[in-house]
């Protein structure tokens, strides 16, 4: 099997600066995709060191919690669920956006998807295991986690067990969904590595690429097989994402506690997951665009289009929130009315209204006002959404957990005791939550040290080039014959079609 094309030529687009005008060239795509692998920017090690230190601090906090008990995390017998459950829901939720966005764009054959899919899928890949890990601090006795997976201990009546099945199945799907498009890229990346470079990382990359893409020749049957497989997994992953987060909501919805036992929760959780997931994809894209100089490929208009998706999910979530509170408040049952009152005007009004403004209203305003509807505006909106939706998860978890359910009425009518429990944040859950947050960019930085950050083959294919491998007998490339300076017309048609590209980040306003 012949080697895939290495450096695709040193061609430059005459008179055209990357990302400013006209479509990017093939060699620019390959260079940009491999830049994080081949080069070590000055900021890389300090950033990794800081993020790593934050992660270590989180691990220390967890060790303290294991030694001293869940009490050091602010848990008590009147606040039995709190920040870790909110973290579990929030972190697993954000992982859905990347995979679902990528799957939808693939199924609908959106040509502008190409520069986004790798980063979106990588975001899903790293956030899901981090989210799953929150089950460990959430359990007071982490050494019993194995009982969750050991069949003799299975409790088929427990939503937690089905959560485990659903999330682990989804993790497998995410891995497969990330791996399949990587096969041709690995073959291409193998040829782009300098053969004279023999340091440890270069050897590791070479081995990795050989393992992942060793059999790839780029022939038409191979492409057909790969496309069918990716298409199948893309179709599978959307209902799986929906089912996974709805199953996660069962842990709440199937309880008998007011505020948790909500039939709307499965839909509510799925929409929340997609909402925050898209927001995190926007943040990941913006960060990678800036840090790895992908301005020629990831355009602000990409972000604005995702911003519209953000608005759709945000408005839906806002409506579902209204529906939930309206029905629970209107029903007038003592326990439901009590927690709704506490959330809206009682002890939890600050976090709830913070969510309402930051993740409910502001993103809609940003996308509605033409001057604000820019790449930068979408990034700001996404940042607000990610944080405020985490706060909203706290509002979902903590108020019902602290609501008294013991019947000890002062009133003869049989009301509740009326004494609410209290959850106090301590440094332990804060450190663990911040550590998990830091682990996401850390994992992405490390992942992109080994994996091309752009889907090279997909971008070339969408450009109509079909040139990833120099295979004897392989069909001749179409379009510009696959030379290094060939413009990626398909990829860039989105960028160049309507109006001249704008580097100020205000394209969305048009």
């Amino acid at each position: 099997m012949s080697e895939p094309r290495g450096s695709a030529g040193a061609g430059q687009r005459p008179g055209i600066e990357p990302g400013v005008e006209g479509p990017p060239a093939l060699d620019e795509v390959r260079a940009a995709a491999m830049r994080p692998v081949l080069e070590t920017p000055r900021w890389w090690w300090p950033t990794v060191a800081v993020l790593g230190a934050v992660v270590v601090l989180g691990i220390v906090a967890w060790v303290v919690q294991v030694a001293d008990g869940l009490g050091v995390a602010g848990y008590n017998n009147t606040a039995f669920w709190a920040v870790y459950e909110a973290d579990l829901v929030a972190f697993i939720g954000v992982s859905y956006g990347g995979a679902v966005v990528s799957a939808i764009l693939r199924i609908t054959k959106a040509t502008w998807r190409a520069p986004l899919t790798r980063i979106a899928e990588a975001t899903a890949l790293v956030t899901l295991p981090i989210g799953m890990l929150f089950i460990v601090p959430h359990l007071g006795s982490p050494w019993r986690v194995w009982e969750l997976v050991w069949p003799p201990y299975w409790n088929l009546s427990s939503p937690i067990l089905w959560d485990f099945f659903a999330v682990s199945t989804y993790l497998l799907a995410t891995v497969v969904f990330f791996y399949l498009p990587l096969i041709p890229d690995a073959a291409i990346a193998r040829g782009l590595l300098d053969p004279d470079r023999q340091d440890r990382r270069a050897r590791a990359c070479r081995r990795l690429y050989q393992t992942l893409g060793g059999r790839w020749t780029g022939s038409t049957p191979q492409r057909r097989l790969l496309h069918r497989s990716i298409g199948l997994v893309a179709i599978m992953i959307i209902p799986m994402a929906v089912s996974v987060h709805s199953v996660l909501s069962f842990a709440f919805a199937s309880s008998s506690r007011a505020g948790y036992a909500e039939t709307i929760f499965p839909v509510y959780f799925v929409v929340a997951a997609l909402y925050t997931g898209v927001a995190l994809v926007v943040l990941s894209l913006a960060a990678c665009r800036r840090l790895y100089h992908l301005e020629a490929f990831i355009h602000p208009r990409h972000l604005v289009r995702l911003g519209f998706l953000l608005v759709a999910f945000g408005a839906t979530y806002l409506y579902l929130t209204f529906t939930e509170y309206l029905i629970d408040g209107y029903s007038g049952t003592t326990d439901n009315a009590a927690w709704v009152r506490q959330v809206l005007i009682g002890r939890y009004w600050i976090p709830f209204w913070f969510y309402f403004v930051a993740a409910g209203v502001l993103p809609l305003v940003i996308m509605a006002v033409r001057r604000l509807r820019t790449g930068r505006g979408v990034v700001v909106a996404s940042g607000l959404v990610v944080f405020a939706m985490w706060v909203k998860r706290l509002v979902i978890v903590i108020p019902p957990a602290t609501e008294p359910v013991v019947r000890s009425p002062l009133a003869a009518g049989g009301g509740l005791a009326g004494i609410w429990g209290t959850y106090h944040f301590t440094w332990v859950p804060i450190a663990i939550t911040v550590a998990a947050t830091a682990a996401i960019p850390l994992a992405l930085l490390i992942l992109f040290r080994f994996v091309p950050i752009l889907p090279i083959a997909e971008m070339e294919e969408l450009a109509g080039l079909e040139v990833p491998a120099e295979t004897p007998g392989a069909p001749a490339p179409r379009g510009n014959q696959g030379h290094g300076s060939a413009p990626l017309i398909g990829v860039s048609s989105f960028m160049t079609s309507a109006s001249p590209p704008d580097t100020t980040g205000k394209e969305g306003a048009r």
Partner: protein
């Protein structure tokens, strides 16, 4: 049936003396009295109009030497009622509610036991500034209990109601997803080699 006095809280309040009484009523009762100081007497008795409920009556009392001169001081004190939980180590207190004393120093709380058997109750009286004045404990054997949760909870969960075949079907779906995903991986990896070889030969 037994009664006892929580001396620590009283001593912490800095008050000079204590008179406390605990009377426990559910069938039989017992009472404990202290000699001096403001004290609290806690009584648990069946609620007259609510079957299954227990009426907790805490009576704040002043010593005979000072009571006549300060009759108004008995009113307005807040009494907190709690019960010791038996499910957790250390028998932590579960707050039941609060009530304010009337002019006679009596505060009443209706309590509906959520489990049967021995229950240890604690009542603590505090003045308007929150300073504990006195406390008392009592215990009784509850023979009638209402479920702790507000709603009606079925003891039997879905696998008992719907049947284990539902869980079996769901497990089969999960297994099918795993098999499909792994089959995709295998098919791609094997297939790439096969079709790659075929087309790589001119």
């Amino acid at each position: 049936m037994s009664g006892s006095i929580s001396w620590k809280s009283v001593l912490r309040s800095g008050l000079p003396a204590l008179v406390a009484a605990i009377v426990v009523v559910l069938g039989a009762s017992s009472t404990a009295w202290a000699a001096t100081g403001p004290g609290l007497r806690l009584v648990a008795r069946r609620a007259p109009h609510d079957h299954g409920a227990v009426e907790l009556v805490a009576t704040l009392q002043m010593p005979a030497s000072v009571a006549p001169s300060k009759p108004a001081s008995l009113a307005g004190a807040e009494v907190s009622f709690s019960v010791h939980l038996s499910e957790f180590s250390g028998a932590p207190l579960l707050a039941l509610g609060t009530a304010t004393t009337n002019g006679a120093g009596v505060a009443t709380l209706a309590y509906r036991p959520t489990w049967t058997g021995h229950q240890a109750l604690v009542a603590t009286a505090a003045n308007a500034a929150g300073t504990p004045l006195a406390s008392a404990t009592a215990s009784f054997a509850a023979t009638d209990a209402t479920h702790a949760f507000a709603g009606t909870v079925q003891a039997v969960r879905p696998d008992g109601v719907i049947g284990r075949w539902v869980a079996g079907v769901l497990l089969a779906i999960v297994a099918m997803l795993w098999v499909t995903l792994i089959a995709v991986l295998v098919r791609v990896n094997l297939g790439l080699g096969l079709v790659g070889k075929r087309t790589s030969i001119p």
